[in-house]
Symmetry: C2
Subunit: 158 residues, 2 copies
């Protein structure tokens, strides 16, 4: 995954790549990459933005793949645990990971105008938060880093 954030790119290519990576990951780890899980990841990849669980569920339902909330939440939970999907806490919504496989502390830029979401790699062990944690004696296990603002496209347009 080399394209950055909001830059235009061949999206069908990046969908295929990530699907293949997920396939490979599950094979390696002996995890089941089932129809529902596969489809949820595809849906998230084909949108370039965060989707709510119920939006995903609606699409699944239209295809006969389950219509009750737990179906979507379980798939999202699975994809989150294997690192191919992240939750955007600010939006209560979910996005496909753009650096799957890498161990990374994800950081997100969320456009409040078009709802697109770009992921930036954060190094977990620098920055003022890490410094403050060290000073306070706090052990960081997970981080949520999200910036809300305006993406370059929307800025240009308006």
């Amino acid at each position: 995954m080399s394209h950055s954030g909001f830059a235009p790119h061949d999206h069908s290519h990046c969908i295929a790549d990530t699907m293949a990576a997920a396939e490979a990951h599950c094979a390696r780890e002996k995890l089941q990459f089932t129809k529902v899980r596969r489809r949820v990841l595809e849906i998230l990849l084909s949108e370039h933005k965060a989707l709510g669980a119920y939006q995903i569920l609606e699409k699944l339902g239209a295809e006969g793949l389950g219509s009750q909330p737990p179906v979507a939440y379980r798939a999202l939970d699975f994809l989150g645990r294997i690192g191919f999907v992240h939750k955007i806490e600010k939006l209560n919504a979910y996005v496909a990971c753009s650096q799957p496989g890498d161990a990374h502390a994800p950081a997100f830029m969320i456009c409040r105008l078009c709802d697109s979401v770009a992921e930036a790699a954060e190094s977990p062990n620098d920055g003022s938060l890490a410094h403050a944690a060290q000073t306070a004696g706090f052990t960081i296990e997970k981080t949520v880093v999200e910036a809300e603002g305006v993406c370059p496209d929307c800025r240009t347009r308006g």
Copy 2:
């Protein structure tokens, strides 16, 4: 506010200080620091942790200050707008600000064992996120920075 994060401190003093600061702020800005708003801030200050809106509402209700969700949400919204309360997105919960008045991009350390929350000041304009945003041409308006982990007290105890 000089004590840092998880360090012990004279809490009644810091409650009084912040209440006075809120009082003064509202007077300056000609905003109404009403009974409900005052009480919500007091409740949040007297706990040193994040409370859900419904937990706050329960306490309000016990005192005859309104028992329906909008009462709590409106007070939280007001206190958030004037910068005396922050929402912890990860927990869907609210904490009193420990640097009220200062313009600051808050960052939080959340102990997953005791639920205490400490606020660290982040400088919004450095760190890898700000750098990534600049590179991408993204304009940051607000940030959510939250670290989940174990606080020094819990680490020592267990």
